[in-house]
Symmetry: C2
Subunit: 223 residues, 2 copies
DNA sequence: CGAGTTTGCGAACGTTGTTCTCGAACTATA
DNA sequence: TATAGTTCGAGAACAACGTTCGCAAACTCG
């Protein structure tokens, strides 16, 4: 039908039979399903069952599964607390990044979606707007780049932490084999070094550091 | 059956009827399908058709679709030219990042897979090993982090370039609406500023810069 | 009270990943 | 050369998925 993004389509019609559910309810149900069973569990049938309806009913609220995923991603953006800028851009952005990390760990399916899906709904735009406020005075393209990289870097960190927490054996298994085989001494050494390091913990500080350097590498402010 | 990664499973059995195809042929077929029709075109049936067989035959070579995607991702790692380090880590890594960008633009389906799929096969390990060589002397966790971020940042850049090239209207449409509405002046200003900037071109230099800063932000070398 | 419009949803279609099954093709052993 | 053992190829089939169709039900408006 329309290929407009869902946020430009009116939620309810003025006339006719009133809808029994709201877009927000659909979104909440999808979030619940994803939090419980991962992103693959977010099927039309799954979300419909969560709502107690048939799969076909969902199509009155979304044009398809993609809309559902878009809604979910944008909904998580509402979980940010957008505090007034302190004047230190690096500090403010690091705070934002930490919040993003926390949100992504709360919704382990998020990083995957955020990385592959260029979602821009009201929630996301609010965060973008806040980044623009923090980076007031910098050139436009630079601001946009920081926003994109902030998402990407944070998602990467989150993916790493999630993979570590569920011992992503699949990828690690071959790495372990290579390390044990001795065919690549540097890999063997790396694995040994990693084994005696407490992997977690310091990651959050490292994120702060990275964001700080990102800001430092920006073109000089115009303000 | 086995949940070992595919690279730890023997390719051919010593006994019984010999296989008509090789793992490499399967991989090549999958790559061809993806390059032609995007990642969604990589279905068991699609790849099988490319090979001129039935879908069921593929399961003699891979345990499922995931294996296919893993093989594809790892195969692209073979496209790197791993030159001997110059001694300047930032320079060598920037070169690697530029190669990665080129590879990803050659295979537009790659960034999406690389970002979401922690693949570690022989090809990927070769690249990891090369990064370890370039960063000789730095602490292990830092080296690993650089490797991860190099992939993530490059993939993000590639995604941006790909999205720009096909005018990803979906996400941009809502942004354009917000900008036009004037509800968020900073967004409106940003869009105006972006319109009069030649978006492409400078991106590659920016990548070099970012990688350079990444190296600079590393803990001091132990060598 | 009709006329017009929108929603809810059972039923169905096409496509997907995957498994079953069994005849065919090979190696190894004798 | 025969026989046993093993592996491969692939047609048929199944479950699950996203999606469409059609119509009864529920509402607003004049």
């Amino acid at each position: 039908m329309t290929d407009e993004p869902i946020w430009l389509r009116p939620e309810r019609a003025a006339t006719g039979r009133p809808a029994e559910r709201s877009r927000a309810e659909i979104t909440a149900a999808a979030l619940a399903v994803a939090d419980r069973g991962g992103p693959d569990a977010v099927s039309m049938r799954g979300v419909a069952e969560e709502l107690g309806t048939g799969p076909a009913s969902l199509y009155r609220y979304v044009t398809g599964r993609d809309d559902l995923l878009d809604l979910m991603v944008d909904a998580t953006a509402a979980e940010y607390r957008l505090a007034a800028p302190t004047g230190d851009a690096a500090l403010d952005l690091a705070d934002l990044a930490e919040q993003a990390l926390a949100i992504m760990l709360r919704h382990p399916w998020l990083p995957e979606l955020v990385l592959t899906r260029p979602v821009l709904g009201p929630g996301t735009v609010a965060v973008l707007d806040h980044v623009l406020l923090i980076l007031d005075g910098y050139p436009g393209p630079a601001k946009l780049e920081v926003f994109a990289l902030l998402n990407a870097i944070t998602a990467t960190f989150a993916l790493g932490e999630i993979a570590a927490s569920k011992r992503a054996g699949h990828a690690a298994a071959y790495l372990a084999y290579v390390a044990a085989s001795g065919e690549r001494p540097r890999v063997t050494e790396l694995m040994a070094e990693l084994a005696e390091t407490d992997a977690g913990g310091r990651r959050r500080e490292r994120l702060r550091e990275l964001i700080g350097n990102l800001v430092d590498s920006l073109p000089t402010s115009a303000q």
